[in-house]
Amino acid sequence: MIHTFKKAFVVTIPILFAFLFLGISYGMLMESKGFGVIWSSLISLFTFAGAAQFAMVVFLTTSLNPLIVFVIVLIINARHLFYSVSMLKRYEETGNSKWYLLFGLTDETFSLVSTLEVPTQINKKQFYIFITALNHFYWVVGTLIGALLGRVLQSEIAGLDFILTALFVSVFTLKMKKRYNVVPGLIGLGVSLIMLFIFGEHFIIPAMIVMITLLLINQKSYVRGENL
């Protein structure tokens, strides 16, 4: 068991750094918006979704309608559907732990568990649980440190909000490097901008409807193009 834990710890070290950095940023940002350590660490414990949590900072400060939050988070996290689909087979023999393993299947955990070859002498189930729980732990601890740090620093740090934009722009850029993502990415950006000009603040729902319609139209031409 200790041997398995050590193996799991070693593979999660890159995520330790990433989650501490992001978790600390998240905790500080929440603290600067008036949501203290209790709020931020509970959200990190239960919601456990990086991008969605950063988006939620704005939803919380503007008291956005929870139903709209629900739809937006569904769409932001839609990619997880496909992570879970591809992990179902590997997680088949884990019994009831499967619930937790799927709950904790973040982008980072997925990138580990979907690519790693589990050494034969190691208990697979324990190995997966340790990886998932360690990543979960790093995320909550990072958030705690950030919230406390934010409280100690007290004074509002002008410009810290930008971390949110920086996160979204970074992820977007990396995804756009993949060729098949360019048109859908431009649809996301362009439709949102147009809808922002038309509807102002409340552009999200109309933007999503138009986006998904355009994506499905684009799929038809994409499939047709392939068949030619």
Partner: protein, 106 residues
């Protein structure tokens, strides 16, 4: 206010759990459909396009400084991430640059 916030958190948590756990019950039939695979490929990048706009919606381009600080920082982030393929490096350098611009330069 507090109640709304609690509902926001519950809504986000349930939505996240649905996306991660529901595949246990989605039929193989749907999973193998072309449109399902297609949307799984492209929805992430589309939703991040939306989030970029959402995060920037408060920026005013008609009054000083016309969103220049944001624009400069974003260009730098795109350059760094495109070149180094490192998201954390992009977030860190972009945020620090933005803070320097608005606190020191402007």
């Amino acid at each position: 206010m507090i109640l709304t916030n609690i509902f926001i958190i519950i809504a986000a948590t349930i939505a996240t759990i649905i996306t991660r756990i529901s595949p246990m019950w989605i039929s193989k039939d749907i999973k193998s459909k072309q449109w399902f695979k297609y949307l799984s490929d492209v929805l992430p990048v589309t939703s991040f396009g939306l989030l970029v706009v959402y995060a920037l919606k408060g920026v005013s381009i008609t009054v000083y400084p016309y969103g220049i600080s944001e624009l400069v920082s974003i260009i730098v982030i795109v350059g760094i991430v495109y070149w180094k393929e490192n998201i954390l490096l992009g977030i860190f350098s972009g945020t620090v640059l933005y803070m320097i611009i608005i606190n020191v330069i402007m």
